[in-house]
């Protein structure tokens, strides 16, 4: 905290992009507050029962001699449980099998401040709204401090140093206990994998030493900097992989409680519609009752099939007096109108600016891009199992925040939050969808009508798509004035889009009152550019037509990186410069700005790949093209190269190469897997993804109308990791932002056509 007390206005912009020490290197007043709060509760110890020894908040030694590592994050495919096991095993010098992961208790100790701090919309330019924004944000942080959460590609960044520290401290405590027992100096003890050996051949296992070791005061030991070790930097097999391969892994939908009933749910077909009434026309076998919610009806039965059949037969009357009549075209018309109104539109936020864009001179190049609403479409549809009595509640469900589940389930069950138990199995996908807990609240409401009986509520795929919180649709006007070399003398970026954060806070924490704020996520990927754009204005026009929007893998980066990187490609083409060379020039212009240096390193590797692997000609005369995109998201830098072919008017992505700098890859094979995953997720969006609205109704209903990328259409993806040793960046979402622009730019290279709307549609050729 050497810079503690620095004013908010002096915050260096790179502290947000680099995130030194994860939370901004101590330059944030807010980080100080968070650290203080965490420090005050740092004496927390994992509860231990008979025969177990707790070694603080993260580790304990179980009765069976295995070490348990507490994980406050949910595993939704990113492998955080396996990573926690790997780090604990490394620090304790144990084989992987000697460590198991367990969900951490719901305690403020396990909060995720990284996720919150990453979302701060600071910039050094906008002093006016800055203070107001800061007050608003810190108010939120203090209110939600203690909130566990999995999202924003933060789980590794949030817990890896804490687990490494805990493991090295526990090892030291065990060594000191062995030293005392054998009266041999600790440095003469040899660790032989779960036991200490004295020079004269006496041994004591961790289990034998634990009761004594657990009573010692931990020393203040810091783990060495991340470097290649037994598992770190190499990777290790994930313990969850066999479970998932053999179908033994349990998800929320697999919850089975004695006497459990099943509920099938149907929501109002129109946004904002309410349930008027619902009746079961006749007795239906197995049906136990109907629950009338505010905007849904649920059929409760002894089997899910009976619940579904019952729902089909129910007579449901909806009250559409409050229903929305919004259609997709209205949304884009509103965006267009807002952008056309320009500086007079409110609310308009200049989130990042420098120089005077009005007075800049040069030839103007302008383009408008847009992107549609998207559904998350996790493979495991929304579901939750709840058990409610007059005094307590239990919830079994996949989710992205145990603390929020506890808060919201308590409210829905009308019991105190410390009377809510939350059981979290594996998640059949999260992607941000399970940060919004409407499906859990409804399951608790439904179970509340069957007090004392567990009820599992499962959404059909149609309900899952119909009642999502969507990746917002957006429209961006981008313009630049270019000098004689074709480089921008000004850059103006204006995006019309609703605010995800604002809607999320209103849904999750309605009591956390706050005014309008600049939502950083709306412009993530456009602000604080790593390119040298000394004269710029990055602006958000908040336009919200009431369509629910939420966090969708990579959030704002999925929009802004696409728009920006396509536009940069347009500037390169206008300057008749190779897209890689053009980007190199723009990076060089940023000087010694650290993000520019890291981006340039990634770009160099892209150029090397490009040179070594020329674009193959299209098969059977198909047009072929190669496109490039360079992005920074979640404190990591990613460049992607996409090779496409146009086969009889169909766009095929053949190959993708990604270059990744996430600081240091703790588990390289999993970094590769996650980046591939992010790319394929982004490809679904680039090629097919769109959720349209028609008179307030959601158009797509299943994978026939909301297609996902298939095995046949998935390209071969290679991933190259550049370890720069910078502070850890995120991994889970970073593959997504660059793929749509890389493919769109490849289409331009192949056809000369600029596709400025997503999904990419070739039209008649």
């Amino acid at each position: 905290m050497s810079e503690g007390g620095s004013t908010l206005g002096r915050i260096a912009r790179r502290s947000f992009l680099i995130g030194a020490g994860v939370v901004g290197g101590g330059v944030l007043v807010g980080a100080g507050v968070v650290a203080w709060r965490l420090g005050a509760i740092d004496g927390y110890k994992l509860p231990a029962s008979d025969g177990e020894t707790s070694f603080g908040a993260w580790l304990k030694l179980g009765r069976d001699g295995r070490v348990e590592v507490a994980v406050p994050h949910q595993d939704m495919g990113q492998g955080i449980y396996a990573l926690a096991v790997m780090l604990a095993a490394e620090g304790l010098r144990l084989p992987l099998e000697a460590v198991r992961a367990t969900p951490a208790p719901i305690e403020a100790r396990y909060a995720n401040p990284v996720m919150l701090l990453d979302g701060l919309p600071f910039d050094e330019a906008a002093h006016g709204p800055l203070k107001q924004t800061a007050v608003w944000t810190f108010d939120k942080i203090l209110r939600v401090l203690g909130m566990q959460g999995t999202g924003g590609s933060t789980s590794t960044r949030n817990i890896s140093e804490q687990i490494r520290t805990a493991a090295i401290c526990m090892h030291d405590m065990l060594a000191r206990a062995a030293s005392a027992r054998f009266k041999v100096p600790a440095d003469q003890l040899k660790n032989v994998g779960g036991a200490f050996l004295t020079p004269d051949g006496r041994t004591a296992t961790y289990s034998e030493l634990a009761p004594d070791a657990g009573k010692l005061k931990p020393n203040d030991i810091k783990p060495p900097p991340l470097a290649r070790g037994a598992y770190v930097g190499r990777g290790a097999p994930r313990f969850d992989v066999p479970l998932k391969t053999y179908g033994e892994a349990k998800y929320g939908i697999d919850t089975r409680q004695p006497g459990q009933l099943y509920a099938a749910i149907r929501h109002s077909p129109r946004l904002g519609g309410r349930l008027d009434r619902a009746v079961i026309p006749a007795k239906i076998a197995g049906v136990r009752g109907i629950v009338e919610g505010k905007d849904y009806v649920a059929m409760v039965a002894e089997t899910f099939a009976a619940a579904l059949a019952g729902l089909e037969k129910a007579e449901i009357v909806w009250d559409d007096s409050m229903a929305s009549s919004v259609s997709t075209k209205d949304v884009f018309a509103a965006y267009r109108a807002a952008l056309d109104k320009g500086v007079d539109f409110k609310p308009r936020w200049i989130v990042d600016s420098a120089g005077d864009v009005v007075r800049a001179s040069g030839k103007e190049i302008a383009a408008t891009y847009d992107a549609p609403f998207l559904a998350h479409a996790t493979m495991e549809p929304m579901n939750a199992t709840a058990f409610v009595t007059e005094t307590e509640a239990k919830v079994w469900a996949g989710h992205q925040s145990a603390s929020l589940v506890q808060l919201m389930a308590a409210k829905a069950a009308n019991v105190p939050s410390d009377k809510v138990e939350v059981f979290t199995p594996f998640l059949g996908g999260g992607f941000g969808r399970r940060a919004d807990l409407d499906y859990i609240v409804k399951a608790v409401e439904i179970a509340g009508k069957f007090k004392g009986t567990p009820v599992q509520t499962i959404w059909s795929r149609a309900e899952d798509i119909r009642d999502d919180v969507y990746r917002p649709a957006a429209m961006a006007d981008i313009s630049a004035k270019v000098d004689g070399d074709g480089l921008p003398s000004s850059f103006v970026y204006r995006i019309a889009v609703p605010s995800v954060t604002q809607q999320f806070v209103a849904r999750a924490l309605p009591s956390a009152k706050g005014g309008m704020m600049a939502d950083r996520t709306t412009v993530d990927g456009a602000l604080f550019p790593f390119y040298g754009l000394p004269t710029r204005s990055i602006e958000n026009f908040t336009v919200d037509l009431g369509i629910p929007v939420g966090f969708w893998r990579s959030v704002g980066f999925s929009l802004n990186c696409h728009f920006v990187e396509c536009f940069i490609d347009e500037l390169a083409a206008a300057a008749s410069t190779h897209p890689l060379d053009y980007r190199a020039k723009l990076l060089a212009r940023a000087g010694s700005y650290e993000p520019a240096i890291r981006a340039a390193r990634v770009l160099e590797q892209m150029a090397a790949f490009d040179k070594a692997n020329p674009l193959p000609p299209g098969k059977d005369g198909a047009m072929a093209g190669r496109g490039y995109a360079l992005t920074a998201s979640f404190h990591s830098f990613v460049g992607e190269i996409a090779d496409v072919e146009i086969v009889k008017g169909d766009l095929k992505v053949r190959r993708v190469h990604a270059v990744v700098d996430c600081g240091f890859a703790i588990d390289p094979p999993n970094v590769v897997a996650q980046v591939r995953s992010g790319i394929n997720y982004g490809l679904t969006a680039a090629l097919y993804g769109r959720v349209d609205f028609d008179n307030g109704k959601v158009v797509p209903t299943n994978f026939d109308t909301y297609p996902l990328l298939s095995l046949e259409d998935a390209p071969n993806i290679s991933v190259e990791i550049v370890n720069t040793g910078a502070a850890l960046g995120g991994v889970g979402e970073i593959g997504t932002p660059a793929i749509a622009p890389a493919v769109a730019n490849a289409v331009f290279a192949a056809t000369g056509k600029r596709l400025r709307s997503l999904p990419l549609t070739l039209g008649p050729t």
């Binding site: 097999p237 053999y246 089997t303 579904l308 495991e380 299943n702 994978f703 298939s710 046949e712 071969n716």
Partner: protein, 162 residues
């Protein structure tokens, strides 16, 4: 009325209405929760089971259709091909969230079992399951591992027989 069939190698019966989906009967009546619900319309393959050797989407298969047939779920999968496929899946570290993976494993096992001498491409073209985590590169790798282990094992056996 109950439907009689062979489930994971043993005689079994289902009490569920004959026109109701096999998926829910297996999950709720037989507690075979490795059979996953993804779309309810035969589009994603999360609910894949093997019926008389063929990959089938249980969410659009009425219970009555399995009368007298042999149904294999992930819980009952065994045999040489299944062993090769599951071991290959683990070697390739294919699953991420893992929800769709039992369906993929069953689909791959059923396709490979029909002819272990197929090429990888031939196998890929018969797998239309969907994975939202996009584990397709790893799945292709796993299929390759499974084929080479089966084909290698077979040529070794031939060698030994000679």
């Amino acid at each position: 009325m109950s439907v009689e069939f062979i489930l994971n190698g043993r005689r079994a019966s289902l009490q569920a209405p004959p026109d109701s989906p096999l998926l829910w009967a297996l999950r709720d009546e037989k507690d075979l929760v490795g059979v996953k619900f993804g779309c309810g319309a035969g589009l994603c393959g999360a609910c894949t089971v093997i019926i008389d050797g063929q990959q089938v989407r249980s969410c659009v298969t009425p219970v009555i259709d399995v009368a007298g047939k042999s149904v294999t779920t992930i819980e009952g999968l065994n045999g040489e091909v299944a062993k090769a496929v599951t071991e290959a899946w683990i070697r390739a570290q294919a699953p991420q969230c893992g929800y769709c993976q039992p369906g993929f494993v069953l689909a791959a096992t059923s396709v490979i079992a029909t002819d272990p001498k197929q090429t990888s491409e031939q196998v890929f073209s018969q797998i239309t399951n969907l994975c939202r985590c996009g584990t397709y590169d790893a799945i292709r790798l796993a299929v390759g591992y499974a084929l080479s282990s089966l084909q290698g094992a077979e040529s070794q056996e031939k060698g030994a027989a000679r």
